[in-house]
Symmetry: C2
Subunit: 317 residues, 2 copies
């Protein structure tokens, strides 16, 4: 079951975080880019090769301290077929090194099509009586705008084969309130109404931990709302974007946790991938050691979250 | 400008419809599948090859009667890298045969990531100072749940390079109301609130026709709501799924049109792709002539919509 594996990973490394792999080319050290371009050309193939090398070294540097990676599909799809090759290879390598993979694709469609997306990312595709996995991620992010029809195929895969989803509830971006904060006639925000649905759906895949593999995306940039949502979706794990580069602090992020210190996993992408060129780490690491800078930043983040969780606990005690 | 090109295509063929290309393997005649499997193996490569052959023959049979195709990404992503190859090749071939391409991907994310999706489907990706198009579709479907941040990069591409988007407003599936029909404190449904946003956004890319390249997805299965939405989004073209296999009739679908006979384009996927095995056409066409059955069905649909539009006009006169 996805959620129990995730919690085991979080406990093993004492680290409720996930590393986003959104490899813009500008994040990749010039030496890696140049090598890839000289071997595979200055086109999609070269870009994909650079991304694969970059991601693999990040995975090597993070796999014994961070339980999961979260590749963001957009940054692979922009390189076409070659980009999907880089995505697939990244997922394969992360799993090989023992990391869980959360595919951040925010997929959504009507039932029959959601079924195809579920096969693409979580399940298998049947071809002439045999089944093949295109990606085999552990979990996928899903957009709820179409209601249960569009989410059910993913939930069924979660129940059947122990995968997970995180449904968008309150996203981290500035304009998330434009639709998500609208207030309905019973006085509740849309994000609360969606949370009630997620809570209902979450019963379909509850693990031994008591948490469900049907989780929610709740941005670190909205700590107050996270507190409210924490009470509505009791069984759901929160995937929390918006920490670091987007402006969410550790104190903000820990609003998503329960008092047991569980219930959320915090994502950071840019701050880890680009640590080598940040003011904080660029004194200690040159671009060749981008992976060590990423590791240091991941450890700093872990410590940052740990302290915020302790301070929250002290306050509640 | 996307919308003017689309309207020109609709006028040229006197046909406000689009053919969905959602090629489930079971939709493809066994002879094509077997040939592809024997040449490329019974795996992703063979499946992709079958899809490419199937789609190309459909495109050949439809390109002088239907203005656009709408490939649904899910049915390609489920075959991994090879599936994306089939998708790319389908888009390329449709454009070569003069058809417009609406990529049905329902993408959505925060601004920087939406930017990457926009590059992937509508714009270009910069690599070492040069720009490459991964897909170069004419238009893309977009999910609005994240608000303007997540839509703006697509709108900017529409303004800058004459592409188009269709924003999900009221989807055709049964449970679409679970979130979209919630009523806000000012008495409006969420789909109306989203429509108001789309109307605001639509000013950014208005063509010579007076219509905008920022359109909306409104299901044929909800004709009453389509009528309401038609009044809110005056400048927006509606992409209308749900006709045919999903239960929407021509009479339902024409609620999305304006009195000038413009304003909407109706999609059919399954009924066209699977015409060869339908009760209606399987008497006249064997599986080898699946493309001619698709053409007949597309012509029947055109006539069905035309009659419904005339009957609507007579009623209004």
């Amino acid at each position: 079951m996805f959620i129990d594996k995730l919690i085991a990973g979080i406990r093993k490394f004492d680290n409720p975080t996930v590393a986003g792999l959104d490899p813009k080319l500008e994040y990749i050290p010039a030496s890696i880019r140049e090598k890839a371009f000289s071997e595979c050309g200055k086109g999609f193939a070269g870009a994909a090769e650079a991304i694969i090398w970059f991601n693999k070294r990040l995975i090597d540097a993070l796999c014994d301290i961070v339980p999961a990676v979260k590749p963001q599909l957009a940054y692979y799809e922009m390189y076409g077929v070659e980009g999907i090759r880089a995505f697939t290879e990244t997922c394969r390598y992360a799993k090989l090194r023992g990391m869980m993979v959360i595919a951040d694709a925010k997929r959504n469609d009507i039932g029959s099509t959601a079924q195809a997306y579920s096969a693409a990312y979580l399940g298998k595709t049947e071809i002439a009586g045999e089944k093949f996995a295109a990606c085999d991620a552990d979990a996928l992010t899903v957009n709820p705008y179409l209601g249960i029809d569009g989410v059910k195929p993913f939930i069924e895969e979660c129940s059947a084969s122990g995968k997970g989803i995180f449904v968008l509830v309150k996203t981290s971006n500035k304009s998330s309130g434009q639709i998500q904060d609208l207030i309905t006639q019973d006085g509740k925000h849309i994000y609360e109404k969606v949370a009630e649905l997620v809570d209902e759906w979450s019963t379909a895949a509850v693990g031994k931990s008591g948490y469900s593999s049907i989780g929610a995306v709740v941005g670190a940039t909205y700590p107050e709302q996270a507190g409210v949502l924490r009470k509505i979706m009791k069984r759901s794990y929160f995937l929390v974007p918006g920490y670091g580069a987007q402006g969410g602090t550790a104190k903000d992020a820990v609003s998503a946790f329960n008092e047991d210190g569980l219930g959320a996993v915090i994502n950071a992408s840019r701050s880890i991938m680009c640590a080598w060129r940040s003011d904080h780490w660029s004194q200690s690491y040159d671009e060749e050691s981008f992976d060590q800078a990423a590791r240091e930043e991941a450890l700093r983040m872990k410590e940052d979250i740990r302290r915020a969780l302790e301070s929250k606990k002290d306050k509640n005690d």
